[in-house]
Symmetry: C2
Subunit: 244 residues, 2 copies
């Protein structure tokens, strides 16, 4: 075994994109999570045959991709942008409707986070509960340290993304060590609430925001474990699927 392989890998958790400047991402893998609903939608799309997803910061840039043959998906404040093909519901990507198409996507929190890290990190991964185990298996085989970046909600900490970070740290505790307080906190929070995730998250601010939009089916789907076995990876600025 090489020295590198013997060295215990480390996990850190950045609980909000507003804290990202405090983390050194150089040479590390970054796992981005926006459970409700950007990264869940991305994994759903990739698992159902979408070729790739290109994230955009602005609605205008994203909309312009329509003329290049892209499906355009846009969400602001949890709602579909009217003129766009798709919003941010993971359910709309199921059943291979968009197989062999490319998607251009812009969301309130998730795509911003991807844009911020892709130039610096070693690998950028896209995380969701619906492919949790696949991502864990992939990360077991990586040699780099890991930073989990929670997309949060408009800069604030959010419960579902940080609980996902806790799940990753919990299931990887034999493979990665941590001295990051955010990771330790969320690992413990996940450990105590793991059999009860949906009930625990029923109080979360974002769950309530989504419930007001009558998208209980989306919430339910976003909190389901291991529906798909693909992982999401950023390559050349686009998110693609890879078998773990």
């Amino acid at each position: 075994m090489s020295q590198t392989k013997n060295k215990m890998k480390r996990i850190e958790t950045c609980l909000s994109p507003e804290l990202l400047h405090l983390y050194n991402l150089q040479g590390k893998n970054v796992l981005i999570v926006d459970i409700f609903r950007a990264t869940t939608s991305m994994i759903s799309a990739l698992a159902n045959g979408v070729i790739s997803i290109r994230p955009f910061r602005s609605l205008e840039e994203c909309e312009a991709m329509k003329h290049e043959g892209f499906i355009i998906a846009g969400e602001r404040d949890g709602k579909k942008v009217e003129s766009f093909d798709l919003g941010n519901s993971p359910l709309s990507y199921l059943n291979h409707t968009f197989s062999n198409r490319k998607i251009a996507m812009t969301t309130t929190n998730g795509t911003l986070a991807i844009d911020a890290v892709k130039a610096i990190a070693n690998k950028v991964l896209i995380g969701a509960f619906i492919n949790l185990n696949a991502t864990i298996e992939y990360l077991k085989n990586q040699e780099e340290d890991l930073v989990i970046l929670c997309a949060g909600w408009k800069g604030k900490f959010n419960l579902e993304d940080s609980l996902y970070a806790g799940a990753i740290a919990y299931f990887l505790s034999k493979d990665y060590t941590t001295d990051c307080d955010g990771t330790l906190a969320m690992k413990s929070l996940y450990q105590f609430n793991q059999n009860n995730i949906k009930a625990f998250l029923a109080n979360a601010s974002h769950t309530k925001r989504l419930q007001n939009q009558n998208i209980e089916a989306d919430i339910d789907f976003c909190l389901s474990y291991d529906i798909f076995d693909v992982i999401g990876l950023v390559k050349d600025g686009e998110i693609i699927a890879q078998q773990s």
Copy 2:
């Protein structure tokens, strides 16, 4: 009962001073916490007869107060500033050594947080485990919404301050409601770890940092419940004691 009294008060938790701009503090009470060790030291000092503590951002401003008869207390990166009378050990404030004196204090995280909020908030309180119950009793009788501001560590989330926020939310859950994810997360984390705080915090980054300085007695003291029954309040830019 007036309408105001019937309205359920709300708690929010700001997990790092770097996120403070996302919170509206106007007309709210703000409870500032820096368990290791600024706010624990402040409460210790007040409970032992210190007249008031004036917080300073810079070492230079703080040091200048020596000529005005103040005891000067300074800490950077967890260590006492050499030329100062005192560092940041709560134990150094016990036994009435500084009774009837005024202290000028500057610390890595805690005093910065106080300075940032005192001009905007309704009341600014200083929190620690050593006066947890006194602070809870005081807050029960307040009518304003509450924002708990965790001092963190150089902008990052830290475990001991956020766990204290969780304790406050947990013990005030009959008096205050919350839809803040940070508060919900920390309340649950506290609930599950409340009988085990010292062991749980043994892994925290700041505990390890302090253990390297051989100040286990400080850590132990900072994590003790209800040693004192005074609360700490900011009045005219100085922290003073008040019976709850």
